[in-house]
Point group: C2
Chain length 205, copies 2
DNA sequence: CCTGATCCTGACTCTTTGGTCAATAATTGG
DNA sequence: CCAATTATTGACCAAAGAGTCAGGATCAGG
């Protein structure tokens, strides 16, 4: 994940930085940036507060490091869309991959959700830069498929937004989803079925 | 909106409470609960901090009042689904209404998004109570339509989730949407077209 | 097993911020 | 126009939390 610069790091540095980022992910994704405290992060990581600040200059730096480190992993599935693949199946695979990530990495999903909600102070350049580029690549592929009639014609940007919205909803708003569904439901596997049907219907030529 | 108890309130009280809630909505929806300060709220409302605390006992009470006051308005469209109406059109109208609310009341959308993200400490009873009830009513109507073959059969809870996710996405993640689309787009009217097509496809029997 | 570099922490500072309060100003009803 | 009630605020307090630092512990390489 991300541009690791583990080169000049000792074993202890590597381990402790990892512990801190892991703890920070839990804390930031639960409480947001402003709601998180270095003490909580330290507690989660099993280190003292000054020790955390020995490895990262500030709370802000921890946060920024987390975001940039996780962004690649978060966007990867979009780049995995194969222009040579079967169009509908490629999209359905992307949806499934994103939904799986919401289930498996809800903390990451919430971390980004908080950041975008805030207006993305740390991500502004990235949003208009790398993210936009990645999306445009995918859009180009989709448009090609649509023009050749192998996929039904819809606005590709909004198609991608819809996939993001629907899949991340199950991570970001999980308490609401569970409260509304009540006991005895597996939101994610139900969602998988629902979304598979939805995008099949929407995109079958 | 909500159960107003304006009975024993003077003119000044009504006006200032309104100013405070209005300012608080702006501040909370931008920064979240922990990120907001009473000073900011006071500034937004054009009052002094002690004066704000003269009308509300605490920051928490302002927040709770806002949430409960706005919840009714936020859920209203769901209760407006007419069992006697034309099924597909009723759903499309609901989608359009929700999207219109995202455009017109993005602050409310973000306020709730922040709260759910946090785990909804203030809303837990409501989520499993009133919200769940409202959803179940709508689900019953949808199920009826589906059983009588006037609407295609999909899981109604997840249909509702999908509508929430897609429409609120444009308010909650607006900076991302705009960054990805670039200049010269009207996200909301494009979304309206996209969603109309999507749900038409999904639900036409 | 010694030494320099790395690692760790208790105790501290400084700022922010939620909230209080006594004193003052408006307002209102008689 | 005069109490009595309501509204407003400057000055303050206490707690929380980000970040510092001097000194002690640990470790790695020779």
């Amino acid at each position: 994940m991300g541009e690791q610069d583990d080169s000049g790091l000792t074993r202890i540095q590597r381990r402790n930085r990892e512990l801190i980022l892991e703890g920070a992910l839990t804390v930031f994704s639960n409480s947001g940036f402003r709601g998180a405290t270095i003490d909580q992060i330290a507690g989660e990581a099993g280190l003292s507060k000054p020790n955390v600040l020995y490895y990262f200059a500030s709370k802000d730096e921890i946060h920024k490091t987390l975001l940039t480190t996780l962004l690649d992993m978060w966007l990867a599935p979009l780049s995995n869309i194969d222009p040579e693949g079967e169009p509908l199946q490629e999209v359905l695979d992307y949806v499934a991959a994103k939904l799986r990530m919401s289930r498996q990495y809800p903390r990451e999903s919430r971390l980004f959700a908080y950041e975008i909600l805030r207006g993305a102070p740390h991500l502004t350049e990235i949003l208009g830069g790398r993210l936009r580029g990645t999306v445009e690549d995918a859009v180009a592929i989709l448009q090609d498929w649509m023009q050749s009639g192998r996929l039904r014609n819809v606005e590709p940007h909004h198609l991608i937004f819809s996939i993001w919205a629907m899949t991340q909803h199950y991570a970001d708003f999980e308490v609401q989803v569970r409260a509304v569904l009540g006991k005895g439901h597996d939101p994610f596997s139900e969602a998988q079925e629902f979304l598979d049907d939805l995008y099949r219907r929407l995109l079958s030529p």
